[in-house]
């Protein structure tokens, strides 16, 4: 199959999987899965107290958003940089051959 077409299809697939739930469940607030975990534990073990606190306490959704975005940004930046470098290298290689 054509490489570009298949890349397009892969991205389209991911977008559909991402947008699908958002469109289908509009107006509903999306919770977090491991919140469900801790709730389930608390139901059966109401006396269990977490015995250790995070080193840096949770400072609210805004700071969380920042840190997660930072993580994704760094990761995406490095990924893009390296792929770009590889692409430039292979194009140079092609030109040198000509």
């Amino acid at each position: 199959m054509n490489k570009q077409l298949s890349s397009g299809l892969l991205i389209a697939g991911v977008l559909i999987l991402l947008m699908g739930p958002l469109l289908a469940l509009q107006g509903r607030e999306f919770g977090a899965t491991d919140g469900n975990f801790t709730e389930a534990i608390e139901k059966d073990y109401p006396n269990y107290k977490p015995w250790f606190q995070p080193v840096i306490r949770d400072s609210g959704p805004e700071v969380q958003t920042f840190l997660f975005t930072l993580q994704a940004g760094i990761g995406a930046g490095v990924t893009g940089y390296i792929l770009g470098l590889y692409q430039g290298r292979s194009e140079k290689h092609k030109k040198d051959k000509l």
Partner: protein, 252 residues
């Protein structure tokens, strides 16, 4: 002219992918690692003890690779960065709840499972310390599920499916099943530590599994698709590295 055209399309795809990564990460939520302090002490110690040897073996394997082929460092960074991005993405799913993929599959296919134990652990440490996501006491357990069970699963699936010669299918399935199994392992760990009062371990396992199974499925498929996508670019532009890795594999 033709290559110019191709270059723009690829650039567009890369930019698009980066934007997609950034935009979809803007949803604050706790996701799926076991939260700090949420495993009883004996279990926390147990999982630390189980995970540590894998980590040490992984470090050895990592230093061996970088010493022998320093030019592969960039590709290693890519594998790490891919995991870094994917595990920051809390993606909404069909159940109305959010969870994140792990991105361990790509690196496993490139470098083998042990190297990903180290890279995955680094991601978990970052999240545990800075983001209060996961935790230090539960790090051993989280490393075991995401950075040991995950990559070994991906490794087995990839090598099994590769016998049929369909590489892209093998990559897709490896990346997808790795994500699912990671979360199944998390459920097992929680069920072991917190067996239900009625029904014990099994009842707990079913309960914890039902929490994530459906949520995780579309994310696992997304992860599979993204891994195949990146693989396509690597095949096109990273031939040299892939060849070096093939040679490495044959030597071992």
């Amino acid at each position: 002219m033709r290559t110019q055209h191709q270059k723009w399309i690829s650039l567009g795809l890369m930019a698009g992918l980066s934007c997609y990564f950034l935009l979809s990460s803007a949803q604050p939520a706790y996701a799926m690692h076991i939260a700090e302090g949420f495993l009883p002490v004996q279990w926390a110690v147990f999982w630390w003890a189980v995970s540590l040897p894998f980590f040490i073996l992984g470090l050895r394997s990592l230093t061996r690779i970088t010493k022998k082929n320093p030019e592969l460092k960039l590709l290693l960074a890519l594998a790490g960065a891919f995991t870094f991005v994917l595990s920051a993405l809390k993606i909404p799913s069909v159940t109305g709840s959010c969870s994140h993929p792990t991105g361990i599959g790509l690196g496993t296919i490139l470098f083998g499972p042990l190297v990903m134990t180290v890279l995955g652990s680094l991601v978990l440490v970052f999240q545990a310390i800075l983001i209060a996501h996961g935790g230090i006491t539960t790090l051993g357990a989280n490393v075991f599920s995401m950075a040991i069970v995950g990559p070994f699963m991906a490794y087995v699936v990839y090598n099994t499916v590769m016998k049929t010669g369909m590489q892209r299918v093998a990559i897709f399935l490896a990346a997808m099943l790795e994500g699912l199994l990671t979360y199944l392992m998390t459920a097992i760990q929680l069920a072991l530590a917190f067996p239900a009062i009625q029904g014990g371990f099994l009842a707990s396992l079913i309960k914890f599994t039902s929490v994530f199974a459906i949520t995780q499925l579309p994310l696992a498929i997304s992860e599979g698709l993204l891994t195949v996508l990146i693989w396509g670019w690597l095949q096109k532009y990273g031939q040299q590295e892939l060849k070096t890795l093939k040679v490495l594999e044959q030597e071992q």
